[in-house]
Symmetry: D2
Subunit: 379 residues, 4 copies
């Protein structure tokens, strides 16, 4: 008999959007119960938020170290089983590391770390710990994304020869075009935000989507960034040429200055026998194309979908599930893994995805700095 | 400080889709905690399901009457505050009635009752009780549906002169075309399913959508049903001409044999100054039309939306929320009402919607039986 | 060896849109040459227009009767072979009648006549004449409309049980809401425009589309008109319930006050095995639906289409052809008929379509006047 | 008074699609009359085709040189005024050159020449001749493409900072994946087809679309081609990074192996104040986007459009015009130029577009050969 998994939350208090996303997602399949948290570095706000969402306050801790310390004192069957890390980016690495070293399972927001070096250290710690580590590339939870992965695995597109992924947003326009704002916002300050804005924040989602759906590994990249203004130090737009194996090429396009775009993640995959087109803002429509047959529109919940896809749908066709459900599907996969149940490798992104993502980000920065030359990714 | 509302659940156990919908929706805004339930008439299954979703079993009751009896013994501040009725249709009325008579708040699945007569009795009981009663016309929870209502209220379409609502599904095809199936399924047996299949199940949603968005009352109707086969006794398709005030007319189209349609609820509203088009399967796209200006696509979460709409969105534009979120918005409105907080009348459907819905269903059956003549709705 | 057919034009001079449409359509497949015309009742304007479009002026006549008289004097192999009637509606009947009586082939704009009585007289004359008579229900020329017809003929939808056709426009709004304009415009004056505005002008196109695509005959109708204002005498909106054979029902929705709609003709056809959805404003996309398989998007020019459809496409897939090409396909069919070549019955609408259309218009007016009762169409 | 322009046709006989396109387009606005031609190098087929489309055979010549010779003998007011070159690519240059040298106006299919060197020679000849030279970048004739150009010119997007153009087709798949076919087809033989397949055939259209709509000049490019197989010598897929001025960057994506794509030309243009999205396969829908306002859908024929756009529409909104009409708009512009009437520079593509296009093609080939380095375009 399943019993709810004891979940700890780090960050995500107050109006945090990522907080809402994880909290709702964790509830959706009745698998998790929040038992402990550090929602906020300010203890008063931390407690107030716990009360607001009606989480018992006895295991609301003043900081992360206290959480670890106190939880470790509890008997194993009361202790937090998995912690979701929703804090600012630079805290992901130290928190995840300490959690793994103390035997906790971890659900970590993206980016996993701020450098590839940290990522590898975390990977080593994870191998040692042997617990579950999940990176929330949320968009891989959509049923039609999973359907693409499964159909490609089944060979339904034949050999893939071209991939075109995009992640366009326009929200940074109001900042970047204002000299005062662009020089003061933390997002565009490399000391605070890391080495990349556009690729680090969204381009890497497109990168992960390519590898998740196709099952192919990107071997080398050539990138071209746009900073838009001389006095701006962070990429707000980046195009990346990609190569998988010989003669299998593609593009990753990302932008934060694509005026009017909201959250425009999408992918097109072209193979010998067929092709896919999918867009995050209409996640329940998967276009399956062919040179000789009419384009087909696959939708979730139909018997013609794969098990991997159907496992991510709760209601009959025509009842639109959305991004909370996508994240919930990742939480569901993690629950299975924590409980030792069988699950498909496509059910949640792992440490490997995190390491590859950091590799990708660093490589694009290097390529752009070198004048747009090819840079190899590690194997 | 809000403290979670104590929620009781009637029905919705096992694989029940409506059960998942309500359970998830009740969690989404951190407002409700399930404290008691009769998930299933079979006590063993009832308990098993409670354990499966990890609800404490001490207030899982063997039947509805026991639930009432035992809960009434508890001090008021421990007692279930609101009960969600998710049982088969014929139980909605007796359960809702008894709950209201015992001072409980009620969230009731649609149809509210099986006859207009029952509906009126319930209405009387509700007036006496003075508690909160909500009917889950789920689709009114979508942010863009709420945006239509508010924009019309603000006069942005001017005088409305035509409304065209549709609810097309195709799922009954596999039953209706098979003589054996159509004579044995409970859905098409008037003794079990009530007086109407298509209008009662889905047409009434379209009816409610018309009145919810426009703020107009439908005064009279003329309906034409299709039973498809001589030996079938229930409508599987129904078209309804509607009249609001003089010279304001419209149509409600509903079908369960619209092959290939999934859950095709939609509405088009035409006014002097502008028009709306909206479809449930793409709920985050509202088309605002004009004879002289380009069509505009309104999407949730943008500052240009009304407060009523924005209150139903949790994430920034481009992060698709879906039907669970729509239902969650109704639960949120109910929570405000239960707590005595201020809320907009558009935040949840009420007893009045239920009475009007039953009136509509009975009127369409009568009109069709009379050879497609006009029938007045009550005021 | 084909030699261009000698075409005469009646009306369509100056800025006439219908004039452009027919002129371009007649050129498109290199089948017609304009040799004579009465473009305009004013002879000076008539001649000026002929010069403007560089048609030789020797056979530009001062009026229709002169055209007949003079052309009949010419040897048969020089004489106009077919006349396109693009004049105001009330002239269609007398002109078509005289043309047929003198042995000409006729291409006639819609409405064919102003009454059913006239239509039948014309039908009698046509039977006697034995020449070609085509009615330009332009929209039947679209390749994907023809594909629907052919697939239904081939039984690919199985038994059809529901049809939903629509023709929504909003252009009359600016007239109807202005008391002065609505009382002065000829369109809304029954003495000038005939018995119906909305049904007569556009509803009848939807009617024809239903019969053209399904191959079914509409047996009876019940209509509900909206005049919008007490002082307006013509329908500007009309909904029509339709019945084909027993248990095969449908709807025709038409409006000239559907704010923001441009030229919104569309059809949905639901059958036992599948369904179609098509819209005139995106004429190259045909949605083929099923309850169990993904929706398919048929597009013109692909080998999977029928011969009837492929015959209406000139360029490879992805090169959008439009309404001129649709009309050109009708002219192409007429050319084949005039030359005695083999053609499909779906290649141009005939006298029968015209008679049925007038029957439909008169029946809807009668039904509405009778308080929305069923009226039978003639067989 | 306009009198039809005397048009000569070179190539385009038989089933030639480009022949149909030009012939229909030249007729559409009643401006041209075909008076002479060499439809086919085989004189018998040439004459047969002239008869089939009913062009007088007295000026059907046995070859191009004869056409020039004989036409030059005719008095100027009978002589061909403009020749449309629709022959295989390698003949464009010599024919256009001789035509210009003899004082003819020229309409030339794309590519203008096979090398940049030829293009410059032609440019010199054109400057000397002073006649009209038009290059048929057909897609610039669409009303909504012209609307983009005009709105950008009017500053409605503000400073443009990113452009993303695409031209995806899938038709070469059936050839490229078949070893026998790919080694024998002329399209993939550099001796016959020139230096580039994908960029030369379609990428250059996307290049032209970028410059046409934005009014910006592309200064440098970096390209990455895919040949898909070792034994294939021609690009069948090419991605090009582009730079306009500093900090204004973009992408041109083109492919002939984008499985299931038909004729997928499209463009997205992002500026400080707004953005555009447009796709050739739905040419009548222009999406005008903003970070703060709802997306607007511009459609042809509405009064809110620019004069340049409205000049390319013949029918009211909602009557879809297509690719023939787009080409006809270019022919219309050429007619105005030949007649010495006023016209907008956006009404037809010129010699300059041809030279820049050849420069672009050669630069992408060079960049790819050099290992994907930046190559400057000439000013």
């Amino acid at each position: 008999m399943p019993k709810k998994i004891r979940l700890g939350i780090l960050g995500g208090g107050g109006d945090s959007l990522i907080g809402v996303l994880h909290r709702v997602a964790s509830h959706i399949n009745d698998n998790y119960q929040i038992v402990g948290a550090v929602f906020n570095p300010d203890f008063e706000q931390n407690m107030a938020f716990a009360k607001e969402i009606d989480v018992p306050t006895d295991r609301i801790y003043k900081d992360f170290d206290t959480l670890i310390e106190e939880e470790m004192k509890l008997p194993e069957d009361e202790r937090i089983q998995v912690c979701s890390i929703l804090t600012p980016n630079f805290l992901h690495f130290p928190m995840a590391l300490k959690l793994l070293e103390n035997g906790f399972n971890v659900i970590c927001e993206k980016p996993m770390t701020t450098t590839l070096e940290e990522a590898k250290k975390l990977q080593a710690a994870h191998e040692k710990a042997g617990t579950v580590f999940a990176l929330t590339h949320t968009y891989t939870g959509y049923p039609m994304v999973r359907q693409m992965r499964q159909m490609i695995k089944n060979g339904e597109l034949g050999r893939i020869h071209k991939v075109d992924a995009v992640y366009y947003q326009g929200w940074i326009n109001e900042i970047i075009h204002d000299q005062e704002k662009r020089s003061s916002v933390w997002r565009l300050d490399p000391k605070k935000a890391g080495i990349s804005s556009c690729i680090g924040d969204i381009g890497v989602h497109a990168f992960n989507m390519v590898e998740y759906t196709t099952g192919l590994k990107i071997k080398s990249i050539l990138s071209d960034f746009n900073y838009l203004y001389e006095d701006n130090q962070m990429d707000v737009d980046g195009t990346v040429l990609i190569r998988m194996s010989d003669h299998v090429k593609g593009i990753i396009r990302s932008s934060q200055v694509a005026t009017g775009e909201e959250n425009g993640l999408g992918i097109a995959i072209y193979g010998e026998k067929g092709a896919f087109k999918w867009e995050q803002e209409n996640p329940n429509y998967l276009y399956v194309m062919s040179d000789t047959k009419p384009t087909q529109i696959y939708k979730p919940g139909h018997a013609y979908n794969s098990e991997l896809s159907l496992g991510g749908t709760k209601l009959p066709p025509g009842h639109p599930e959305g991004i909370f459900d996508s994240m919930a599907n990742i939480y569901l996969g993690v629950a299975k893994a924590i409980r030792g149940e069988q699950y498909d490798s496509g059910e949640y992104p792992t440490m490997t995805d995190g390491v590859r993502g950091m590799n990708f980000i660093e490589a694009t920065v290097e390529s752009n700095k070198n004048g747009n030359t090819w840079v190899e990714l590690e194997d």
